[in-house]
């Protein structure tokens, strides 16, 4: 290749990389809206990220103030429900989660609530509603966990289901309904028994939940 052409190409690649890097920096470092050109805005607005294949590691404080790692429940199929006290559908689904946690315990399932909310509000509500499954509570650290699941800019509630090896089987956005929840639980059991691959399970859940299979 012509040396001068090579230099031009290198310079173009460097400029492109620098532009991308700067864009990412701006996105992650709280750019001031007023100094961002309007035309560039849509490119900089963060989009939801990718849902992880495996349960990301995180630790949050429980109701007693003890730091609990999600690995404390290693070996169980987890149902991790993200919620907040200000969110009506989050409150609606808590009785269902209590029921499922009790009914599915013998199948090695564990419901864990992750409240992204002020600690005092969560403690008061948990006491009033007698939430009997483990609760982790986070404010900034709670949102950091939300980000680990690829859900920036999304609402609440959402619920992550894993198999007993910590692989994410599905993430359910919005209030969980009993029929949908039971279909997901049953599918996770099939994954645990190796009757379904993870990919087959994801397709099955997607097909059944959205197509209204009963």
């Amino acid at each position: 290749m012509n040396p001068s052409l090579r230099m031009v190409l290198v310079a173009v690649m460097f400029a492109a990389a620098a532009t991308l890097g700067f864009g990412l920096y701006r996105w992650h470092h709280a750019a001031t809206p007023a100094d961002v050109p309007a035309a560039a805005v849509d490119l900089l607005a963060p989009a939801p990220g990718k849902i992880p294949d495996s349960l990301p590691l995180f630790a949050l404080r429980d109701r007693d103030g003890q730091l609990r790692s999600i690995t404390d429940w290693q070996g169980k199929s987890l149902v991790i429900n993200f919620w907040a006290t200000w969110c009506p559908p989050c409150r609606h689904e808590i009785p269902l989660l209590k029921t499922l946690n009790a009914a599915r315990a013998s199948q090695n399932f564990q419901v864990i609530g992750v409240a992204v909310d002020f600690r005092d509000a969560v403690l008061a509500y948990a006491k009033k509603e007698r939430i009997d499954y483990p609760l982790l509570i986070g404010e900034q650290d709670g949102l950091d966990v939300v980000e680990k699941f690829g859900l920036v800019n999304i609402g609440l509630p959402f619920t992550v289901f894993t198999d007993n090896q910590g692989r994410v089987v599905t993430l359910h956005l919005g209030e969980l309904r009993p029929d949908d929840a039971n279909r997901i639980f049953d599918t996770v059991i099939e994954v645990n028994k190796s009757a379904l691959t993870l990919e087959q399970a994801k397709q099955k859940i997607s097909r059944e939940l959205h197509a209204g299979v009963s």
């Binding site: 750019a31 809206p33 309007a38 559908p89 409150r91 956005l173 209204g212």
Partner: protein
């Protein structure tokens, strides 16, 4: 022309999740002229974006917040800021969570005049007023001096989808050029 600046800032997003009145932040910078009343539905829903949606024809998806609630503002007449939310079917906004404040000491905002909403009864939150489809509100304002040339309003609102998803509060920063007084 009305331009939208939508920058979500993780730190502000955090506050939005935690408190009902500070929020996801975006900046609507405007110059005088007609606002865009609505935008065409441009993109994927949230499940689609996350790869959770199937191809089933009857699949329901949640809209991104700025598509669920299309906000705009304009100077409708001298001394009055006119705000409008076009709300997608199946979504609503809480009246008691709508708020507007001035971003500058040069402009003082008056009382936020919101119309009566629909009554929504929730077993946990009781009876509240909510808005469906569209809501408009006037906010009177006064300038500190005749030299004040811009109004900056911080408008916060929060709502949910009837299908069971609540968005953290959203704050838009609305900037409008003021005519000579």
């Amino acid at each position: 022309m009305f331009s939208i600046r939508a920058i979500w800032i993780p730190r502000i997003l955090l506050i939005g999740f935690l408190t009902p009145f500070t929020a996801w932040s975006a900046d609507l910078s405007t110059t005088p002229g007609p606002p865009t009343a609505s935008h065409p539905h441009q993109g994927a829903g949230l499940k689609d974006t996350l790869g959770l949606k199937t191809k089933a024809a009857n699949d329901e998806d949640f809209l991104p917040p700025d598509e669920a609630y299309r906000f705009s503002g304009e100077l409708s007449r001298p001394g009055v800021l006119h705000l409008r939310w076009v709300i997608a079917d199946g979504y609503y906004l809480y009246k008691h969570r709508m708020k507007v404040t001035s971003g500058s000491t040069q402009v003082q905002l008056g009382a936020f005049k919101l119309p009566h909403g629909d009554t929504k009864t929730d077993e946990y939150f009781g009876t509240q007023e909510v808005y469906h489809h569209q809501v408009e509100a006037d906010v009177p304002f006064s300038r500190a001096t005749s030299a004040t040339r811009e109004i900056e309003a911080h408008v916060t609102y929060q709502g949910c989808a009837e299908a069971g998803l609540c968005y953290p509060p959203i704050t838009k920063i609305l900037k409008l050029k003021l005519p000579l007084s």
